[in-house]
Symmetry: D2
Subunit: 373 residues, 4 copies
């Protein structure tokens, strides 16, 4: 089976997440990167494209030129990966969707609710696939956790504790990554809560299958002069009565990418941490705690590539999103539409994430009053 053809917008030299998308796309051999508008600076775009071995003819200096040209080629791209800062997502996504090209977009969905709605409309109008890279949902044990919840092994969900702690912004930092993330015009109204809080929120929803109905948020900015929050503390209420706490921080010294999820129900509890993602604890009420391993006893080997005890990591989880996207897009292109059973985060997750950020900012501005979602 021939590989799908991928284009990329953003991700030129000096960027972080673009390289991640490229490795993820390569890992399972489902995609070939063949075109790019890798930077808004034409020189950097070309240099980046050459470093990646792309054909000069498919190195574009604007995403709109790229959309038009690729749509016109018989061997044009099947999908575009959008890996720009948040405020650019909407224009790019709409350009490609409207011209009939599938979109794989980094999170959060956009910088503003209005942009998010525009994208949603374009998705609907185009009938094209839209995948949002909430990559942590690609971890096999996270998918297993979701199955455990679904199967009733945890009983009624009562408590959801989720957190994502980092420390890279504990001081004033100036570099390409930090600059746009702390700039409201590029990042949107949420700082830490948008950048990583949305991951935590998405993960909790993905595993529990529950929607939060309201939240109360206390956002803080601890570093002088910073214009967006760098620490978010949120209480959540879920449909069905479960209660949650979400903490995201970029100033928690000693934490690198400490995304952790704990879910407790009437019959069982699970605990998982991203930094060592190949193990998850699972306790049935009154029984000893079990350590489930990725692909080990009591779990399926689905979505895993190598035997238990050989660690898979962040790139493999991300790669699963890309491989699932390939499956999804092939099915879509073959059958017009077949989203049955896909675990891929989509436009609805993107809108939910935007609503979460908006509600957090709103609640925090009202002294952490409860805000509906």
């Amino acid at each position: 089976m021939s590989r799908l053809k991928l284009g990329m917008v953003g991700g030129g030299q000096g960027a972080f997440i673009g390289a991640v998308h490229r490795m993820a796309a390569r890992l399972d051999g489902e995609w070939d990167l063949v075109a790019g508008a890798l930077s808004s600076d034409p020189e950097r775009a070309l240099a980046s494209s050459r470093a990646l071995g792309l054909d000069d003819a498919r190195s574009y200096s604007s995403f709109s030129a790229m959309a038009e040209a690729e749509a016109a080629r018989p061997d044009g791209i099947d999908a575009v990966a959008i890996v720009t800062p948040n405020h650019v997502h909407a224009d790019v996504a709409i350009a490609f969707l409207s011209i009939g090209i599938h979109v794989i977009c980094d999170k959060p969905l956009a910088a503003t609710e209005a942009q998010a709605q525009d994208i949603a409309q374009a998705v609907k109008a185009s009938g094209k696939c839209f995948v949002l890279t909430h990559n942590y949902t690609g971890y096999p044990l996270i998918r297993h956790a979701r199955e455990l919840v679904k199967s009733g092994a945890l009983g009624d969900i009562r408590v959801v504790q989720v957190e994502y702690a980092q420390d890279w912004l504990a001081e004033e930092v100036s570099n390409k990554q930090a600059d746009w993330r702390t700039d409201p015009s590029k990042s949107g109204a949420g700082g830490c809560v948008g950048d990583i809080g949305t991951h935590a929120y998405n993960l909790a929803s993905f595993v529990t299958g529950l929607k939060a109905t309201s939240l109360s948020a206390d956002l803080s900015t601890f570093v002088d002069g910073r214009r967006l929050d760098d620490n978010a503390q949120v209480m959540l209420r879920f449909e069905g009565g479960a209660k949650g706490m979400l903490w995201s921080s970029q100033v928690a010294v000693g934490n690198e990418n400490a995304l952790k999820l704990r879910v407790y129900g009437s019959k069982g509890g699970i605990e998982w941490a991203q930094e060592n993602p190949n193990v998850m604890s699972f306790t049935r009420l009154g029984e000893p705690k079990q350590l489930l391993t990725r692909g080990g006893p009591g779990t399926t080997a689905e979505d895993t590539r190598i035997p238990p005890g050989h660690p898979e990591g962040y790139l493999e989880a991300f790669g699963t999103i890309y491989s699932d996207a390939a499956l999804f897009i092939r099915a879509h292109d073959r059958d017009a539409r077949d989203t049955q059973g896909s675990l891929l985060p989509d436009i609805h997750d993107g809108l939910a994430g935007m609503a979460f950020v908006t509600a957090c900012v709103d609640s925090s501005s009202k002294d952490a009053a409860w805000v509906s979602l």
Copy 2:
């Protein structure tokens, strides 16, 4: 030096915390238990007292009889340990304090704010020592953490995450321990938040040296028919701008006594968990995480009994409270009053804990509105 003489109210057969107090008191050889009103049931009181090898003459069937008799004896007790359910603390404490006997009292201070104030008044009027057994403050690494904060090694405190999770009340349970703890008339207005939330709150304050100025609490009761909360989620604001989250739960399946404290400042962070209390991580911003061990490199051996790598536990930390109490009481009896430098939790911590419970219940009843402390 001869040992101090201890009496005990409560803690008869079938009780839990009384036996803990007795082991803690014995550990360092500073105390002899010589008298008791171990149960309100005279037969059980006598049987319990005999099982402990007490002189029948000093086995009392009421605490008031005990207070009078012991105060009258030339070899009467130096202090009484109160290990009854919460609603009895006040009467007992006042009886002993007013007759001139020092008090060591289990937490929380009382079942109601009014009782708490009565105790506080009795402490003040009597001039006697009053120690509240927030035993977790006796862990050497917790005391070291406090020193680290005080020394400025963490910089300005920004974020305080504290939690105490258990699962023993995940279902309806009926036994001596569960019954009074879930009975508002004995436990007070707080269930889980009073029983273990106060420990978490006290620990955070002890280590950071910060007072919370307000809180927003969402209390839940997940088990049908239970009359008090079994899960508490609280957001905290501290003087100086630090923000905190506190979670206490008795329904978090897979957790036994998972008390955890994490404190992050502008220069460093610490993380500690009670279930493996002989290690604490400490990270200076930009440096590798260090694992400090109890009595190991970078810590003092103060308040430790055995070399690093030989684990001390809950009873040793509790024993430190008793040994410090002995020191404190000897100093008091010698010098009229010498509380300089004592780390012992006292009446002020007791009142702070009561205020915390009251505020949580109040806030929760107002849809988690902020309540001042």
Copy 3:
């Protein structure tokens, strides 16, 4: 029930293990320390004894004087704890046993095989109780591990990996503890292998119930000028075909008291580490790993004092040896002899430990040739 009366030989000011024995003896309220020959230096003996609150009349300047005097008193001691350097054990033990006083003796049994045999003869001749404080056998999960093996839950034992690593002798060290341990005339022919290797060996035997039939040892002395081994690497062959490795080291930088045991059989495996002794992993072949906790689901609460999740440690395990010794001695004194079911390490374990040290030294001197046990 009145407490048993304990005497102590050794353990004066500056000593380590004497204080441990005293705390262990106090913990459960089964023993009162009433007499001591705490130092061979009379002044230090008296000062030490007063610091402990002993009656001056029962502070002896020689163990032989103590044995005679205590045997003659109507309220004489029930047992003596021997906490001297190894080379003194035999004389003291024989003195007390022959005069009819039970002995609790620190490990290893003696400095030489000849001394060990003399003690064994005295035990036999006297009919008195002899307890060797291989304290790690007092850990509840170690006892549970023994039960698991006995129950067949692990199947046929195949592999036993045991180790005890420290780093306190990684450099030349001079203090009371180090000096006698590195002096062949006091410690015996084994250095590290005698001091902690015997603990590891005893633990492996205790849990598996297997005797080693032969061993091959490579002892090393890494610190210049040291006269005894500070690192021991040993291969073991057990009856029934199991194979083992034992490593003990006092120069393994970064290890405090890292005693670890792993046992694998045809049906299951267990793993336990002393530094966090309240958890043990247990895996049945083909099933998820379980984390058993002390007193938690799947284990008994026997030999535990406090609920799971409240850590017990080294002193509690040591205390269990003392409490079991009290039970054992009471039963013996009542029924002439009742050792049925006692888990206490005894003279046979002491002889086995000596044989282990002798074999290791012998094997190592023969280029690690196999030596029978």
Copy 4:
């Protein structure tokens, strides 16, 4: 820069390590798989090749046909990956080397010493690159450990404890992976010791930079009817006086791929475990233990792809071997020969591994007598 062209021998449907090599080769975009003799069964070879999207013209049914054809093509492969069972390595390697094609070969080098020597001769005669995929040397923290040792941060190396424990062969197992690994005609004289013991041995040598001078090995076969060892216990003596223990097992119930390395020197110690490879402890004598993270403070970000806290795993380490191989081969092809500074395991490591297996089998057959290396 255009990608290097890779061929593969072995690795058809049902194989394990072939897929790993392919993912590793893809990850960093340095290689394109363009040709294969994926199975000795022509039908399976073709089916496998089609599933991978190879051109039918470059799907060969024999490795010799492939070597000739590819050498003759102007766009022939730059290197061949050999992922067959051990006994086939030599013939394949020699065929490709002699015709001028670089070789990347799975470990161990061969099934017999004679085969190994033949390969070595072919490497020498051909002047071509030969890379042995001791993939664990690709873990960034393992490379950092090597640097630490080299820098003198650990002082003189004293003790090396290495182990690789699995449990997948704890019972009789029959499948493609198990069958050849337990068949002496395919695997060679070593079972577990050859399959994973060589990894452990290589890792210890790689990190310490030390060669073992002699060893004493006790190999066991615990599963009835198995023809090769499934458990190996080995004592090692290194040049310079360091002592080591190596344990490899395929019957250690509860272990998946528990490769662990601990190295202790006069000034420091390190501890690392493959199952959570993004953290390594490092202790300087007398200082707190540090937890170094991949790319985190105190380490370089070399050979890492993503920020610390985002776990990389087995495939990334394997990918680093492939990317380094690409660098190495490009340099070789450009400059005739430039191996300066390469960390890649090569023919010498392969021979050392074979010598290790031979010595273990030899020693074990002589009751674990010391055998020189």
